[in-house]
Symmetry: C2
Subunit: 214 residues, 2 copies
């Protein structure tokens, strides 16, 4: 059965992005540090044409994430899709180039209507202006039996947890202290969570939590 | 060689205690939830004369903690020792009864001098009025080759991390959201941390981080 899942890398002090996000700095100051573990994995290096490095447990996790295997639809907030606020600049097609890593319909939460944007590799960006519940309904229809991934950012993830819609939260716990930024787990209510799997690499601890559906 | 270690249970949103600590509520509102995992382990139940329950990975962790094995001295903040502020009420001898679970000298950071308080089971409370460095020096002398445990609370732990004195932080990551309280990992600078062991139980993820000495 289709689950609603979410993968988030967080610092040990709970930040999924740094402060002061901008076009130059989409993850905020120092926010890239939260994702650096991925850039030293073999799946990422292969995608960039870089030579292989010794394997770690992070490789399989990054490979799963990058392939988006088993995911039939993605939902993300507008800030994750792009840095532009207000009406659309229609030349903006996301941060990910011509072939985004989603390979599935992506529903972008926004207040500003826009026609769907088909990309290479199976990704099409749809723009949803009537809220989270509508996005979820459209994603369920598109995903069929496959999972729905909540991409981010933090406030979008929080909305889904708070509404009781998230079935699994996959935390990638990175042993750095950011000290400031966007906290992932605030304003989420008091969800009942259970760790269902833990993968420990030499740097990152990957914990999958199931969340009791409300 | 003697290491400076610290065990802390934290909620998934980073709190080691709830808000509004008081005599009635030494861990703050909801703060006890962060420690509940320990109260369902067999070592704890045995200590309370309760019948055994099925074993989990939490049992060994709780047993190590409760025995304080390998620890030759403990340092704690005054608020962890008791709820009294200002000068001492000399009838107060900690939260832990006649036989505290430390079985070693305990150095309490305070601004108010007090004679040492010997307890049963090898615990003696010493009161250190000349700061963290002095407490650490006295603890090193007392501990010999054994480890020094930083007991807490959060602000004491933060001081030791910030000063570069903590060698290992053992986080017991509890899958609850407190939403408010005392954050463990703020004002700690940017320590270089590496996970050296992970133990996953059905509820808690126990991660040991080594910290590069500065």
């Amino acid at each position: 059965m289709s689950r609603v899942i979410c993968d988030q890398s967080v610092s040990l002090d709970g930040f999924s992005a740094g402060p002061n996000q901008s076009l130059e700095n989409p993850l905020g100051e120092n926010g890239l540090r939260v994702h650096e573990w991925m850039f030293v994995t073999n799946p990422w290096r292969m995608s960039q044409g870089l030579p292989a490095v010794p394997e770690t447990a992070d490789d399989a996790v990054a490979g799963d994430l990058m392939s988006n295997a088993g995911v039939g639809a993605v939902i993300m907030g507008r800030n994750m899709f792009g840095p532009i606020r207000g009406g659309w600049d229609r030349s903006w097609k996301g941060w990910w180039g011509d072939d985004p890593p989603y390979h599935a319909p992506v529903f972008v939460l926004t207040h500003h209507p826009r026609d769907p944007v088909p990309m290479q590799g199976g990704t099409t960006f749809y723009f949803v202006t009537d809220g989270v519940e509508s996005a979820l309904e459209q994603a369920r229809e598109a995903a069929g039996d496959k999972d729905i991934r909540i991409g981010g950012g933090a406030s979008t993830v929080q909305q889904f947890i708070r509404a009781g819609h998230l079935d699994e939260l996959h935390l990638h716990l990175v042993p750095i202290i950011l000290g400031a930024g966007q906290r992932l787990l605030e304003n989420v209510g008091d969800p009942k969570m259970t760790p269902v799997s833990v993968i420990a690499s030499p740097t990152v601890t990957h914990i999958r939590y199931s969340i009791e559906r409300q």
